[in-house]
C-alpha cells in the first residue's frame, strides 16, 4: 500500500511544531504531522491525547497558538471552517454535520449554495442545479436515495455519512478528515464507509481517519500516527505494527 505515498512529492499537508493551549491545559505539544497525496493515515490515541485538537485545527474549528501549516508547500492560516474548505480540506464528523429538517440537496450545499443570481449571502439559489448535482454526487459514491427533496432526518446513520462523503467529494477535497465516522453505525454501514475511504484513495484523495476502533483503522491505513498526552508518540507504516501493539501503545 505504499505506492501512493511518494516521498519525492511535496506533502499535500504538512504541520510543523503545532502547539495549542486551552487555558492552562497544553493540549498539543510541538506536533509535526504530514500526509502525502492519496495516503490514508490512521490517527489513533486515547481520549484527551490531542488527536481531536489536531484535526480541529486542520478543519478550522480552532486555530493553533504556535506552529505552521503548509498545504502543497504554501504556508496557510486556517481561521475558520470556510477557509479550510476553501483549501480543499473537508471534514466528515461523527454527527455528520447535517441539518435533519433540511433536504438532502440543501444539506449537500449548506453554506455553499450554487447561485443563479447575486453573491453569497444575497443570492438566489439554483435549486435545479442543487438537485441535479446532489443526486450525481450520491450516485458517485454508490448511494441511491429517494430524491433530492427527502429530508435528511429520514435517512439512516450510514446513509447520512454517505451523503457527507459525497458532499466532500463534490467540492473536490484534497484532504478528507474523518472524525470517528463509524461510531453509531451498523457493521454493514461501517464497512460501506471504510470502502468509501479506499475508493477515495484511488482518486488520489488523502484521508485522515480517526477512530477508537483500531480494527477499523488498521486494514485501510497506509500509515499509523499515534498520539498521547498532546504529543505524537509514533508515526510508522501500518504494516510494521499490529492491532495488538497499537492497543498497548495508546492505552
Amino acid at each position: 500500500m505504499s505506492t501512493a505515498a511518494n516521498t519525492a512529492e511535496e506533502p499535500i499537508i504538512k504541520c510543523v511544531g503545532l502547539q495549542k493551549w486551552y487555558g492552562a491545559v497544553h493540549a498539543l505539544k510541538n506536533v509535526d504531522f504530514h500526509a502525502a497525496r492519496g495516503e490514508v493515515i490512521g490517527l489513533v490515541g486515547d481520549n484527551g491525547a490531542g488527536k481531536s485538537t489536531l484535526i480541529k485545527i486542520l478543519s478550522g474549528v480552532h486555530t493553533q497558538d504556535k506552529g505552521d501549516i503548509f498545504i502543497e508547500g504554501r504556508n496557510v492560516s486556517i481561521t475558520g471552517p470556510e477557509v479550510a474548505m476553501g483549501l480543499g480540506i473537508e471534514t466528515i464528523y461523527q454527527y455528520t454535520a447535517m441539518v435533519p429538517e433540511m433536504s438532502i440537496a440543501q444539506n449537500f450545499f449548506i453554506g455553499r449554495e450554487p447561485l443563479k443570481f447575486g453573491r453569497p449571502g444575497l443570492g438566489i439559489v439554483d435549486r435545479a442545479k442543487m438537485a441535479r448535482e446532489a443526486m450525481e454526487g450520491l450516485r458517485g459514491v454508490g448511494l441511491h436515495l429517494r430524491g433530492p427533496d427527502t429530508p435528511v432526518k429520514a435517512l439512516s446513520g450510514g446513509q447520512r455519512q454517505g451523503v457527507a462523503i459525497a458532499r466532500a467529494m463534490h467540492f473536490r477535497s484534497k484532504v478528507l478528515i474523518l472524525d470517528e465516522p463509524t461510531n453509531h453505525l451498523s457493521v454493514k454501514e461501517t464497512n460501506k464507509v471504510l470502502d468509501h475511504v479506499v475508493e477515495l484513495k484511488g482518486l488520489g484523495i488523502t484521508s485522515i481517519f480517526i477512530s477508537h476502533n483500531l480494527h477499523h483503522i488498521h486494514p485501510i491505513s497506509d500509515r499509523i500516527v499515534a498520539m498521547a498526552r498532546g504529543e505524537k508518540i509514533a508515526d510508522l507504516p501500518a504494516g510494521e505494527i499490529s492491532v495488538d501493539e497499537m492497543t498497548r501503545m495508546i492505552s
Binding site: G111, G121, V125
Partner: protein, 323 residues
C-alpha cells in the same frame, strides 16, 4: 415537481391552514353576520399589524432565538416617530428614525444574547422592560398629540376592493410576506437561517457565520415590530406609551399556531400570517356572538394547544408515510 400529499402534510403551516378553513366555514354558517362585507372589513383591519410582528418572530425563532421585546418596540418606534414629527421633522425622516431605533434595539438584543452568551429569552425579557420604560420616559407624562392633519392615506388609507375595504397596510403586509417568504425559501441566506436554527453546530462546521445570521434576524424582527407599531399608531391616530403591551404573547401565539418549532429550524411565513388570521378570527366571532370577551384568551390558548398537537400529529404521519 409533482405535488405529493406527504410533502404537503409535512409543511409546518398545514395544521393552521386546515383549522382556518374549517373554522371559517363553520363560522359562516353559524353566524350570518360573520361572512359579511362590513365584518370582513373590520376583521382585516388589525391583521397587518400583528402579522408583521409574527413574521419577524417566526424568522427569529427559525434561526433558534427568541424576542419578548417586540411589544415594547411596537410602542417605542411610533413614540419616537411622532415626537420627531412634533419637532418639525419630515414624516419620512421621522419614520426612518423610528425604524432605526427599533433596529438598534434588535442589535442590542443580539449583542447581549450572542456576545454575553445569555439566553435570548432572558436578554429580550430585560429589553421588554427597558424599551417600554424608554417609551414612557420619552412621552414625559403626557402622551404627545398625534398630528391629526397628517396625511396617512399612503399607509393606512381605505382600499376599496368593492366587497371589502381593508387598509392599505394590508398591501404592505402582503409585500413583506412575499419578500420574506422568498428570502427564506429561495435565497441562500434563508437556507442559512434554517441551518442555524436547525442544527447550529452543523451550520458552524459547514462555514456559516451563525452569529451574523442570528444578529440579522434579531434586527429584522425588531425593525418589523417597530414598523407594525407605526402602522397601528397611524391607523388610530394616537400614540400612547403603552401601545403594544402584551403583543409579544399574541405574536408568539400566532407564530406557534402557524407551525414554528421553538427548537428552531422549522416554520414558515405563510404560517405566521395564517396564525394571525386565526387569532383575529376567534376574537371576531366572539365579539359577533356576544360572548363574554374574557373568553378570548381561553380560545387563543386552546387554539395554541390544538394547532400544535395537530401539527405534531400530521408531521409524524407524514414521516411514517412512504413517499
Amino acid at each position: 415537481m409533482k405535488l405529493n400529499v406527504r410533502n404537503l402534510m409535512a409543511r409546518p403551516e398545514m395544521a393552521a391552514l386546515l383549522i382556518f378553513v374549517a373554522l371559517f366555514v363553520v363560522f359562516s354558517f353559524i353566524n350570518d353576520r360573520f361572512f359579511a362585507t362590513g365584518n370582513m372589513t373590520v376583521y382585516l383591519q388589525p391583521i397587518p399589524e400583528l402579522a408583521i410582528v409574527a413574521m419577524g418572530i417566526t424568522i427569529l425563532i427559525i434561526a433558534g432565538e427568541f424576542d419578548l421585546s417586540v411589544g415594547s418596540v411596537f410602542g417605542l418606534s411610533p413614540m419616537v416617530t411622532v415626537l420627531l414629527m412634533q419637532n418639525g421633522w419630515p414624516t419620512a425622516a421621522a419614520i426612518l428614525a423610528g425604524l432605526m431605533i427599533a433596529a438598534l434595539i434588535g442589535f442590542g438584543n443580539g449583542l447581549i444574547t450572542l456576545k454575553l452568551k445569555i439566553p435570548s429569552f432572558i436578554a429580550t425579557l430585560g429589553m421588554l422592560f427597558m424599551a417600554r420604560s424608554f417609551a414612557v420616559v420619552l412621552a414625559g407624562g403626557f402622551p404627545p398629540i398625534f398630528p391629526r392633519e397628517l396625511d396617512v392615506s399612503w399607509l393606512v388609507g381605505r382600499l376599496d376592493l368593492g366587497l371589502v375595504t381593508p387598509r392599505v397596510s394590508l398591501l404592505y403586509m402582503i409585500a413583506i410576506a412575499l419578500v420574506l417568504g422568498f428570502v427564506l425559501r429561495r435565497m441562500d441566506f434563508g437556507h442559512w437561517i434554517f441551518a442555524t436554527g436547525g442544527h447550529p453546530q452543523a451550520a458552524r462546521d459547514m462555514g456559516i457565520k451563525t452569529e451574523r445570521v442570528k444578529m440579522a434576524c434579531f434586527m429584522l424582527c425588531a425593525t418589523l415590530a417597530g414598523f407594525a407599531g407605526i402602522i397601528q399608531s397611524f391607523r388610530v391616530k394616537v400614540i400612547v406609551p403603552n401601545l403594544g403591551t402584551g403583543l409579544e404573547m399574541q405574536a408568539i401565539a400566532a407564530a406557534v399556531i402557524g407551525g414554528v418549532a421553538l427548537t428552531g429550524g422549522v416554520g414558515s411565513i405563510l404560517g405566521a400570517v395564517v396564525g394571525t388570521l386565526l387569532i383575529a378570527m376567534i376574537e371576531n366571532i366572539l365579539i359577533l356572538s356576544g360572548v363574554n370577551a374574557n373568553w378570548f384568551m381561553f380560545a387563543v390558548g386552546a387554539m395554541i394547544v390544538v394547532a400544535v398537537v395537530l401539527n405534531t400529529q400530521t408531521r409524524l404521519k407524514a414521516e411514517g408515510m412512504k413517499g
